[in-house]
Symmetry: C2
Subunit: 339 residues, 2 copies
């Protein structure tokens, strides 16, 4: 059962536990600073498939299957699959759901999808609708480039504020069973924010205001300070978007600099080709499903706020002169709350 704390935040009465998780990543991500934290990796862009789209679908499916196997469960034990991705008509998730055979809720939250799926899954589990629910998302550099920007074959140079879509996927398996696991304790659902940015090579700037609003609402409604959390983790603001988040939060009287981490800045740490860092739903999802949840299980992190941000534009809306609306959802994940 939910307890409403304010206009955007609810608290879970019996925080759903994260029984298991999984992460999948491509070669650039594997070669990065967090390469060892991914469960499955592959060395080309196709992973043995004929198209990039098939490779992305495989990543989504493998992430979900791995999370389910790790919990010693089978797909037909799972009540619901919550998933989405960046591709038109979310074909990665939809086609993977066909193979998995789990009742499926298709989502589109752009790069906010991992947090969106976690929130909806946690509501179903805490509401008594599911004993097990799996939440996942994926992105792929090559499928995203040709859909949102230019075909790779054009060789278009990158602008300094651009980010690199992460080839990666992540999945999280939630349960109503009690035990010593990371548990989803609170959910803050974002509003769509638009500060007038219209540069599709500057997603960080478009999404930072949404992240700021969601984090500030979360802190206010839960009456917590930033330091309550060991880490406030944004999905893919990148280095430029992260600076903007820190500044906007500072202007509102909250200093996030000591606890803020950004998966997009981390995943390509030290790789200048990635410009401002990683982006895409798979960025936050693979870092959460791998590194961050491993850190929690290992006792090195106890309380995190996972904030995934999404840019809700399309190539059509951009061509029609629209700015980039953005959204951020946040899920608090804490140890010791799911017993």
């Amino acid at each position: 059962m939910g307890l409403r704390l304010g206009p955007t935040t609810v608290q879970f009465a019996s925080p759903p536990n994260i029984l298991s998780s999984a992460s999948v990543a491509g070669k650039t991500e594997k070669d990065g600073a967090y390469g060892l934290s991914f469960d499955l990796t592959f060395d080309d862009d196709l992973w043995g498939e004929k198209t990039y789209e098939l490779a992305e679908r495989k990543m989504f499916q493998k992430a979900v299957e791995t999370a389910i196997e790790r919990a010693s469960l089978k797909p037909n034990d799972i009540s619901y699959l919550y998933g989405g991705d960046l591709l038109n008509q979310i074909i990665s998730s939809g086609f993977a759901a066909r193979e998995l055979g789990i009742p499926f809720f298709g989502l589109y939250g752009a790069c906010s999808t991992m947090a969106e799926s976690l929130i909806l899954g946690a509501m179903a589990v805490d509401g008594g609708f599911a004993q097990y629910a799996v939440c996942g998302t994926s992105s792929h550099f090559a499928t995203a480039e040709r859909q949102f920007r230019y075909p790779l074959e054009l060789g278009t140079p990158k602008t300094p504020t651009s980010q690199n879509t992460v080839t990666g996927a992540g999945a999280v398996l939630l349960t109503s069973l009690r035990g010593q696991y990371p548990a989803v304790t609170h959910a803050t659902t974002g509003r769509v924010i638009d500060m007038g940015i219209n540069d599709v090579n500057n997603m960080g700037a478009a999404m930072a205001p949404a992240a700021t609003e969601t984090i500030l609402s979360h802190l206010e409604e839960t009456q917590r300070n930033p330091e309550y959390y060991d880490a406030i983790i944004t999905g893919d603001l990148g280095t430029f978007g992260s600076e903007l988040l820190i500044k906007l939060a500072n202007d509102a009287g909250k200093n996030l600099s000591a606890v803020h981490k950004d998966c997009g800045a981390m995943i390509y740490e030290g790789n200048p080709l990635a410009k401002c860092g990683g982006s895409g739903c798979g960025c936050g999802a693979s870092m959460l499903g791998g590194f961050f949840l491993n850190e929690m299980r290992g006792g090195r992190l106890n309380k995190i706020l996972f904030v995934a941000t999404g840019a809700l534009h399309s190539p059509t809306s951009t061509l029609q002169g629209e700015t980039i609306p953005s959204i951020a959802h946040a899920a608090a994940i804490e140890m010791g709350c799911g017993q």
Copy 2:
């Protein structure tokens, strides 16, 4: 709180009431047999806007706003907006959500989105996460044609099995407040089904197996016969898909012919230009938000099962030689259960 009846169906402990609803439609729909049941209609494809996409966004927004106004509420009284549409990156819903300012869950279930949003909204309300949640979706003939098939300017002729995307939108406002309203009592969430259809001009055939599976699962898990319902209403199978549904259900020993209605077959009744009838998320949404819920409020229908079906392909997946995976979600709506 949810009570799980089987692998796909849950029962709501305190069935969320439909406090109000609204429907919007274009000219062809207004001129049809159910024209008077739509709350707002317009006479060209643009509704005073510069692009078809802007007209669709306006339909989505007006449907949601009208449902909220009818309940004498304001957007900031609403905890969550659940919405999606057929356009890439669901720009109709996403941009409308920016104007509405309600915490937003973006969905993609193709034409199944109205039932998907109802289920997720009802779970949030019954789970204690929201006092009010609004669920909506839209589609537009001109935006869908140029995205999924051919630009209108090409003048491509229609095949006999083709359907006409409905220009329409619908919204439903759910509440935990008790009273004499239509109430969402059960939700059956679909799996992705694929019978190998690859003709994008034969959506009815692609979606009928998904509708059949979801309806049969629902009846089995609730231990109800088809006649329990005054109407089992599919969203947009059209005439050909409806025949197929009746046949497939008959083969499985269930006779749906006395109670089955299809919004796609109804909305263009008697209009030969529409071939097999209407399709699109806005088809089921505008008929539910208008005609069917009006019939319930007027006492002419007491128990309905609303089943929306979606085809989860994309132009890319079709060009890459994939078949059309489909999904159907069902929500039971009954009078006298929300007191």
